[in-house]
Amino acid sequence: MERFELAVIGGGPAGLAAALEARQNGIERIILFERERELGGILQQCVHSGFGLHLFKEELTGPEYAERFIESVRQSDIVCKTDTTVLEISGDRTVKAVNAADGFMEIGADALILATGCRERTREAIGIPGDRPAGIFTAGSAQRFMNLEGYRIGKRAVILGSGDVGLIMARRLTLEGSEVAAVVEAMPAPSGLNRNVIQCLDDFGIPLLLSHTVISTIGKERLEGVRIAQVDSRMQPIAGTESLIPCDALLVSVGLIPENELALQAGISTHEDSHGLAVDERMQTDAEGIFACGNAVSIHSLADYVTVQGRLAGRSAASFILDRRGRTELEPMYQDGRHTAK
């Protein structure tokens, strides 16, 4: 079994920052696993701008933001295994992974950093009844189809949920020639960033229906429409307020859930309500030497914050490893344990 000082799982903004920070803090043998062909994680499909305002004081697209870190990783001696899926981790910090070139591999590490990101809540998870035809997408998979594969997902769409992904997709669809009939939000206020409400909906005249939800989906083979209704304060549809919106696509953008299946299998604790990994102020989980950062811990509104947290995890992991080597502890970078952007 090959041994490394540090294994980082996930090559999105959290994992990239963590690996680089650990490298800069004297950790020499680092391996980073990424399941996609490219590093960068979900940033690669976020072609809109707005990244980097806090960290770099400039407005970058997702791929541009990612590139700043990917470039540094490329120039370093960090071993990057892309197109590689981690299958299992264990509390003694061994990692089982697989790819087509190397096959099945098992490596050991002195410390692990989990930067596994999040997944989208689906229409099934929120129990929208109705038919199950083609044309119902999570906002992120619609974004991938459009931005990475280059396909339109429908001619007339309804978006459920006013989170940032939903808002950004409303603008994206409009710019690519699809009509967005409405963004429907069950809460009485939009849940995404205010700047996105203005730049993605208001600027394009897309209606935002607050305190409304989709109560059923209609269509045998391809979606033909959604039925919506106003909801009361307990999120229950109010009788008599139903209406039908004809559309051939429904984008569901109803929240993100930290993706921690690897950690759960290894018996690492998560918060029951948020599904985020439980970490201490140094981003260590309840398994010694296993750290976590980014959306696997909690859902962040900005990639910049994810980067900051990734750095903290990288630095903590480095100090853990160096400690074990019997060297002196590093100067703490964040005196109060909080992770704020410099």
């Binding site: 399941r35 197109d83 899926t85 299958l87 089982k96 697989v98 790819n99 087509a100 070139a101 190397d102 096959g103 099945f104 098992e106 997944r119 989208e120 689906t122 229409r123 099934e124 998870a125 129990g127 009844p129 109705g130 038919d131 199950r132 035809p133 083609a134 044309g135 997408f137 999570t138 992120g140 998979s141 991938r144 189809f145 459009m146 990475l148 594969e149 280059g150 396909y151 339109r152 997902i153 429908g154 001619k155 690519e176 699809s178 109560i215 059923s216 989906t217 045998k220 083979e221 391809r222 051939d248 299946e261 759960l264």
Partner: protein, 480 residues
């Protein structure tokens, strides 16, 4: 001229096709959908019953007992996973005690070995998630769990390997008598066959009408199900139900082959033969029924709900007989629960009917000398032991690329599922054959990858790839 045309490629049609492929016959299976197993077969509980409630005076009862005896051997031949699981039928009040005793008596009459009534303590020890108020439970050993569509795919693949032709997207539009046979009109042209076997599920009565008879009708029932996440902190080791009264049927809590718990079905009559929609009302009813068994079911960990249409027949029993108006036509109608369990027995029963029909025509059924009863399952990366994975990936590099992260399905499996005969033709076809998209993200991550693999393997443009049936294109067009 075909010897046999089978209408419908669900569990009954494919079981009949595979059974008849043991003989030297020219056989075609016509399926109106773009995928096999697309009707009631895929919206099924997956329970193999042991016939504890079977009634010997009914054909359904006799075929259940026979089907159960045949099922495991069939699964062995077709390399299909079969998990023996005991059934636990719980009672919560005095009335239930009587119902359980009645069930026990009937099971004993049916010769079910090992059936017994458990005390409250023993029931709770076996199934700690049962509600505290449980009084007693009937332990019914000798049931089992399968993936119903997997059985159907396996039957179809084995039938095809033994010479049966499968024609998809080929709905039957008319039947006409011929000298020594039947003319079958379809969307894709006309076929002639000596015998036609009507395995059209909820549309068997429409086929009967095409033959000129209204001797039975199908009363579709919509059954809804909910599936819990594998990682839900709710696991069971039995198929669990509340003992049912005549008025109120209980849902089952079913431990699937893959570690999920499935709940269902809730049943309602419906006029609409095409709608497989789920409804908020029935889902509430389903959960209410399930909570009678265990109030600890984590409703928020439902990852999928779905509905299917079951073909209840006006005759009140399975209706398997020759048509009274068209010679050469055999109906297999009204195959509702436990049709999956019965399917091998139904197929054997129909083969006997075909043999006697052919002998009346002066024809004999000759054994197919090259019939191969074996079929091999799709190798699943997840099931390969760690030590053998590298060797497998070296020979099949696609198995080193995980496409569906939730269920750990590789590119190799997906390509293989598409290239089989009959293989997956759509995203849902891939899902049912490989489990890609069946996990907690419901295809959010793997959907785009599965779509491009289908595009490559079927040599179709991305925007021509189907979600399931014709008209279900996933993408509208490519961007300039």
């Amino acid at each position: 001229m075909y010897d046999i045309v089978i209408i419908g490629a669900g569990i009954v049609g494919t079981a009949v096709a595979r059974e008849l492929s043991k003989y030297q016959l020219r056989i075609a299976v016509l399926e109106r959908n773009n995928e096999i197993a697309g009707g009631a077969t895929k919206a099924n509980s997956g329970i193999i019953y042991n016939g504890h409630t079977a009634r010997a005076e009914k054909l359904k009862g006799r075929l259940t007992l026979r089907g159960r005896q045949m099922f495991e051997e069939l699964c062995r031949e077709l390399d299909v996973a079969f998990k023996p699981v005991d059934m636990l039928i719980a009672g919560f009040d005095e009335e239930d005690d009587a119902a359980i005793e009645e069930l026990r008596r009937r099971a004993e009459t049916n010769g079910i070995a090992g059936i017994r009534v458990l005390s409250r303590e023993e029931a709770l020890r076996r199934e700690p998630f049962l509600n505290d108020g449980v009084r007693s439970a009937l332990l019914n050993p000798g049931c089992g769990i399968v993936d119903p569509w997997e059985v159907c795919f396996a039957l179809a693949e084995n039938a095809a390997a033994n010479g049966v032709e499968f024609r998809l997207n080929t709905g039957v539009t008319g039947l006409a008598p011929l000298q020594g046979g039947i003319e079958v009109e379809t969307a894709g042209g006309t076929l002639q066959a000596r015998a036609v076997i009507n395995c059209a599920g909820i549309n068997t009565d429409l086929i009967n009408r095409m033959a000129g008879s209204e001797s039975f009708s199908i009363l579709p029932k919509r059954g809804q199900y909910a599936v819990l996440d594998r990682s839900a902190r709710f696991q069971i080791s039995h198929i669990v139900a509340h003992c049912k009264s005549e008025k109120e049927k209980s849902v089952f809590l079913i431990p699937t082959l893959h570690g999920n718990v499935m709940i269902g079905p809730s049943m309602e009559g419906t006029e609409d033969r095409t709608s497989k929609k789920t409804t908020a009302g029935q889902m509430q009813k389903l959960m209410k029924s399930a909570h009678k068994i265990s109030s600890r079911i984590p409703e928020h960990q439902v990852i999928r709900s779905f509905a299917g249409l079951k073909a209840k027949c006006s005759a009140g029993d399975f209706l398997i007989r020759e048509s009274e108006v068209m010679s050469g036509l055999i109906h297999a109608a009204g195959i509702n629960n436990p049709g999956l369990t019965c399917s091998p027995a139904i197929a054997a029963h129909i083969a006997d009917m075909v043999a006697s029909m052919f002998s009346r025509m002066g024809l004999a059924l000759e054994r197919n000398p090259v019939f191969n009863p074996q079929r091999e399952r799709l190798v699943s990366f997840k099931d390969i032991p760690d030590g053998e994975r590298n060797e497998w990936i070296r020979r099949h590099p696609g198995y080193g690329r995980i496409v569906c992260r939730c269920e750990q399905v590789t590119e190799g499996e997906i390509r293989e599922s598409i290239s089989r005969e009959p293989g997956a033709c759509s995203v849902n076809g891939v899902k049912h054959r490989t489990r890609a998209g069946m996990g907690r993200c419901q295809g959010g991550f793997c959907g785009p990858k599965v779509t491009s693999l289908l595009s490559e393997e079927l040599d179709r443009r991305m925007e021509q790839v189907l979600f399931e049936n014709n008209g279900s294109e996933l993408l509208s067009d490519s961007m300039p």
